[in-house]
Subunit: 138 residues, 2 copies
Amino acid sequence: MQETHYSLSPIGILHSPLKEREEAPNQGREGAPNAWLEVNAQVSAGLEGIAVGDEIIVITWLHKAGRDTLKTHPRNDETAPLAGVFATRSPDRPNPLGLHRVKVLSITGERLQVGPIEAIDGTPVVDIKPVLLQSADA
Amino acid sequence: MQETHYSLSPIGILHSPLKEREEAPNQGREGAPNAWLEVNAQVSAGLEGIAVGDEIIVITWLHKAGRDTLKTHPRNDETAPLAGVFATRSPDRPNPLGLHRVKVLSITGERLQVGPIEAIDGTPVVDIKPVLLQSADA
């Protein structure tokens, strides 16, 4: 295949009490804190219609991840057999996109308080989408 | 904020009977066909552990989308009030990432048959993730 690349620009950034990757739980529901998602002023018109109480999907760029990993021990368990990264949620993968289903807890201008979320402080956000179905979404 | 960009490389491509954006339903569950996801040989080791019957999340790069749209009529309904793109699943958005929860129907080498999926023929795939919970997953 030809060498193609797409350019992703952050639409915002996460402010979280989690400062290091080592502190972060594997998944939001495993004791992660809430965080503030600060949306860039240039794209904040895109937030219209998002309300407190909504469930949304935040897509992040896991900027501390390695991109050369194709096999990993799921959940960092060295005793587990190696699995392909596409069969796991490892942050280390060719395109380190993170998917986080969170609740909107409060909204202040261009900042959404969301959680729980396992991404660390300073993680770039590249998209936000609504959850479509409670039971079988994305 | 500073002008930052991240570079996304396709990990594969979709082969679908849907050839034009106008033919595609809004969501996979709205009558979309199955498609073949052909994974690049360089990253196909990352598929290990994915099995027929699995539910996976395919993340696409919606290459026909416009990136300058911040408000849209949901579901192309001109009578609906304008909403921010982050409150909709519109393909037109600053970073045109598509999220598709699909079932793996068959596997032939580096090709996964998946569906139903509303993305059109030739859509680049940038990530694949497992569904973690049937009821509440990102």
